[in-house]
Structures are given as structure tokens and as C-alpha cells.
Amino acid sequence: MRKSNTERIHVGESAAPRARLTRRSFLGRAASLAGTTTVLAALPELSPFASGPARARAPIVGFHMDHPYFDPSGTAEPYYPPSGTRSGQALADVAQIHLIGQFGYC
């Protein structure tokens, strides 16, 4: 049985603390191709695109029956949502106070 310390969904743990985003890196990430790429880029141990020695396939987000799903095997065809704000990517990585400070929402 899986351990019970699964209060939060697990896609793997990043070894490095997440760096504070600069405006340049935020805009660069917002212009990136795919939400999945962005998510996995924040978790270098799990990125299928990481260079280095051959490693086991990393989990990916697949798409089935008109809905995304988490594929631990990494064998499904990946789903890449459209880039930009409508994909929901990037915003999740940015502290709200930082976003407001950059774009003056309040």
C-alpha cells in the first residue's frame, strides 16, 4: 500500500528550492510552448527533456476521452495546452504579490 503521507498530489519532489522569478524569466516562460513543459521544467528530476545519462521515462500529462490525465508511465502521447494565460501555466508559478508589483493590478 502507498504511504499515507499523500495529502497532496505527488508528481515528484524538486531537489532545489524554486527560485524567485524575474520579470524577464516570467515573460519568457509565458511565451513558452506548452504548459506541461513548463510544469516539468520546474521539476528537473522528472523532465523528459533533461539532458544527461539515459533515465527512466518521466510521467507526462496525456489526453484521453477529451480530458487530460496523469500518465506515470510516460508512454502516452503528451498533451500541450496552448501557450499564454489561457493555458493556466506560469501564473501558478508566480507569487501574487510579484505579479501585482510588475503589472499593477491593484
Partner: protein, 494 residues
């Protein structure tokens, strides 16, 4: 604190909504047919709290009902949670207490003892929503149905049919016989987790249980849907299976096992449990059926059928995977069972080569009767798709509805748009006495670019012409499993 940020599937269009809503006089493009008076009711899944496991199934999310009320060309929308016992427990604890899809052994320790003993308490009522005997109820096959108020969608509570329904589970695909008006319903795993007991019931027009039959399946399987004819019940048993050993090991409820044959049970409607006959065939997945009929000594079943595992979130254990020779994709097939034959095999015919969605429907007035048309969605990669605005989903989304003429062998298609994915279609007769196929095909289309959902209405006899009307919601709807059209003389709507 509710935090979905670590769920990579909860992004963009598929980010959680988690709100209830009422929209009066929805925006409409086109003109809503004035003869459509009633409601399109849909149920699906919405996570109140993030799932405990990354690879859990979306089928394990909380039930959420949406109702489009049609009256004289005006449409109102209302969306509400199905407040099951599970929903209420999670909400009280402000976190997800429940583990994997239909596996109480993976639940939070604070509830696990009770949910192992009474797994039906975990039901989410998120799979289908129908009306019978003046009541509206939502169902999931792992527990009792939940009654809803048709005016407000407030949750009234679980249904027990005055204590005469004894199965712990209630299928999400009861069948209402259009001739007798009775509802045929059943529960599998009827006596508890991983039991192979099936309890079958008849419920009359007034909602009274009039008959119960009990029998066993050849192996514990997902008997998600059945079919009825005027003379027989038809039970597909296919290669998803489970066991207490599997569940104690902490796995998701179902595992696909391509070594398992398909069994189809045929039982006379006026027979006893001992009259059940099992036919046996090659590995298939028959999650849903279109319809069945009895012709002489033959029972004929038509369904969307897959030769491989249709649900990647219910994977096979090592060694149990699909044969490399198995055909991929779902196709509309006919199975013929000869009750005069002494052999347990049956014939199979692929009726249309096109790969289709497994969510298929017919004109429900023809359930159990000879019929002509089957309706289902499909992905047409040759239609336009704007990947820059909707993602890399060309050929991977249901972008068309098809009307499949089982008599002529022809098909017609409706196309939803270049950034759209379609939920299950539902056929709505133009009038109660219209001939088969004369009516509308309706369903929810998700507009991935505009981040909103739209209820499309097409002329079922002229699908290629496009919408007659498109009802616009200013927000996304969550995933849908099934929906139904309920005429206004069937329920006391607002």
C-alpha cells in the same frame, strides 16, 4: 488550504471550477426550437479538493449536476454539487479524505474503517442523471442513487426505494422500457467490494420495486451498462477486474486483464436467475451499449466496442496487457447470440470502420425495440483544428457527432468547430410522437480557445448543416459523463 497547483492536469480549460451557478436567459446564437420544452440534465465530475493520488481517475471526482431548462425558446442554466455524504465529509474536514477510485483501503485513516466496511458510502453520484416516477436522481455504480430537487438541484439524499432495493450498488445505466414504463436497474458487486453478485430489479412507473433477481458473474467485472429487449436482459462482462487482494495492495479499483474472455449473459425477462445463459467470446471492452432486440431465437446487441483497454487510468498489471494483434480504437459492432445453439460462442460484425467515441446513444423511445439510428461522437482529424488556440489536439478530440444508419450502413456528421470538443450527444424527439430520428441532437461543446462551454443543438436529420442554435455559457463546464433530455411532463421543473 485548497491547492491544485501541483496537479499538472488541472490547467487552463481543465482547471477546477468549484462554483455553483445560475444563469437566467442564456445567450443564444441561432434560434432555440420552441417545441423543446423540458430540460437537458447532465452530470459529471469536479474535484472539490485535489485528489490524493496523481494517477487517480477523473471518475473519482465529486458529482456536479447541470440543468438547462428549456421553455418556449428560453433557456436557463443551473449548476450544483451533488452533496453526497462523501462531499459533506470532505467539506467538513476541508481536505480530501478519500483515496483511489473505489478503493477504501487508500482512504484517510480517520474514515478508512467505515469505508472499508461500507464502501457504498464513498459514492459520488457523478455518472448519470435520469428521471423516473417523478423523481430526479444522480447515480454512480458504486453506491445508491441520490435524489435531487428538479427545481433547485438541491440534494435530497440517497434513495432506498422504501427498503426494497437490497443491492449495495446501483448501476448508472438503468433502462426505462418505453412499452411497460418500468425501470430495469441492477447493482454489481452487490454484496460488497469485489463480490461477483449481481442483483437485478424491476421498478414500476410509480417507483415501486416489483421484482428482484440475484445471480453471479463469471468473474468480478465492470458491468457498467446492460441492454434489454422486449424478451431478454443482456449483461456484458469484460476484461476489467478487481479483487480484495488488489485493493488491499493499494491499487486503483480496476485493472485491465487482456487474458480474460468476454462473457455476455442472456436472461429471459420473464425467467428466473437459473435461466441465465452465458455466451463466451474474445477479449473486448463493452463499456456502453446502443441497444438490443430479440428476433426469433436470436438476441442482437449493438455497441461501441474496443479490443484494447479503453481507460489508461485503469492500467493492466505486468503480463496482462493488450495483445499486439488487438485492433486499436472503438468501432460500432453487432453481436448475435443464437439461443438455439448449443455452443457458447457468438458472431461479431464491425458495422462501421470509423473509430468512434464509446459514449453512444439512441432515440430512447426505441430502447429494447427494433431501431435504425445510433448516435455518437468521433474525432475527425480532417476537420479544421486550431492548435495555436486549443493545444496539440488535432485528431484527439471529439469534434463531430455522427448519426449512424444501421439499416442503410451510412453516416452523417455534425462538426462543432475548430477549437471545440464535444461531450456525449443526446437525441431529443421533435414531438412525443415523431418518427425515429426526427428531432434534435444536443450536447455540450467545450470551446478551448474562448474558455467557455456551449450547448449545441443540431437537426438530427440534417447534421451537416450545423447548429440550429448554440447556447452560450460565459464559463467552462466541468467534465461530463452522461446527460439526458427530460420532457417537462416528466418532472416538476421550475
Amino acid at each position: 488550504m485548497v491547492d491544485f497547483s501541483k496537479d499538472p492536469t488541472a490547467r487552463g480549460f481543465y482547471a477546477p471550477d468549484r462554483f455553483e451557478s445560475t444563469v437566467y436567459d442564456c445567450e443564444v446564437i441561432g434560434r432555440v426550437p420552441s417545441e423543446m420544452n423540458g430540460a437537458f440534465v447532465r452530470v459529471g465530475t469536479e474535484w472539490l479538493y485535489p485528489p490524493r493520488f496523481a494517477d487517480d481517475s477523473i471518475f473519482n471526482a465529486d458529482g456536479f449536476v447541470g440543468l438547462f431548462r428549456f421553455k418556449s425558446g428560453v433557456v436557463d442554466y443551473r449548476g450544483r454539487w451533488v452533496r453526497t455524504a462523501r462531499w459533506q465529509n470532505d467539506n467538513a474536514a476541508h481536505r480530501q479524505l478519500y483515496g483511489y477510485y473505489r478503493n477504501p483501503f487508500t482512504d484517510d485513516p480517520s474514515i478508512r474503517r467505515e469505508t472499508i466496511e461500507k464502501p457504498y458510502l464513498r459514492t459520488l453520484a457523478n455518472t448519470n442523471v435520469i428521471a423516473h416516477a417523478g423523481k430526479l436522481f444522480a447515480m454512480k455504480e458504486d453506491g445508491p442513487p441520490y435524489e435531487l430537487d428538479p427545481k433547485t438541484l438541491a440534494t435530497k439524499g440517497p434513495m432506498s426505494f422504501e427498503g426494497r432495493y437490497h443491492s449495495e450498488t446501483f448501476s448508472a445505466h438503468p433502462k426505462v422500457d418505453p412499452v411497460s414504463g418500468e425501470m430495469i436497474c441492477y447493482g454489481y458487486e452487490a454484496t460488497g467490494l469485489a463480490s461477483n453478485d449481481i442483483f437485478l430489479y424491476s421498478v414500476d412507473r410509480a417507483g415501486r420495486v416489483t421484482r428482484e433477481l440475484r445471480f453471479k458473474a463469471p468473474y468480478v467485472s465492470m458491468i457498467h451498462d446492460i441492454a434489454i429487449t422486449q424478451r431478454h436482459f443482456v449483461f456484458p462482462v469484460f476484461a476489467f477486474t478487481t479483487s480484495l487482494e488488489r485493493l488491499r495492495a493499494g491499487k486503483i479499483h480496476w485493472g485491465w486483464d487482456a487474458r480474460l474472455p468476454t462473457y455476455i449473459g442472456i436472461l429471459p425477462r420473464d425467467g428466473a436467475a437459473g435461466d441465465l445463459r452465458w455466451f463466451k467470446g474474445p477479449t473486448r471492452s463493452i463499456v456502453h451499449t446502443f441497444n438490443a432486440r430479440t428476433e426469433g431465437s436470436k438476441v442482437i446487441l449493438e455497441s461501441p466496442v474496443t479490443e484494447t483497454n479503453p481507460f489508461p487510468f485503469f492500467p493492466a498489471d505486468p503480463g496482462n496487457g493488450d495483445s499486439p494483434d488487438a485492433r486499436h480504437g472503438t468501432t460500432i459492432r453487432r453481436h448475435v447470440f443464437d439461443l438455439d445453439s448449443k455452443r457458447d460462442g457468438y458472431g461479431e460484425e464491425i458495422l462501421f470502420e470509423r473509430s468512434v467515441s464509446g459514449l453512444g446513444r439512441i432515440d430512447d423511445r426505441y430502447i429494447s425495440l427494433p431501431y435504425r439510428y445510433a448516435y455518437t461522437g468521433f474525432a475527425d482529424p480532417n476537420r479544421p483544428f486550431d492548435e495555436s488556440r486549443a493545444g496539440n489536439l488535432r485528431g484527439r478530440v471529439t469534434n463531430c457527432y455522427g448519426r449512424f444508419d444501421l439499416r442503410a450502413g451510412t453516416a452523417a456528421a455534425y462538426f462543432a468547430g475548430d477549437t471545440h470538443t464535444l461531450n456525449e450527444p443526446v437525441f431529443v424527439p421533435r414531438r412525443a410522437d415523431s418518427p425515429e430520428g426526427d428531432g434534435y441532437l444536443i450536447g455540450v461543446a467545450n470551446n478551448l480557445a474562448e474558455m467557455r462551454s456551449e450547448l449545441v443543438i443540431a437537426d438530427a436529420q440534417n447534421l451537416e448543416a450545423g447548429d440550429v442554435a448554440r447556447i452560450i455559457l460565459p464559463f467552462r463546464l466541468g467534465p461530463q459523463v452522461h446527460g439526458n433530455w427530460i420532457p417537462e411532463d416528466r418532472l416538476a421543473f421550475a
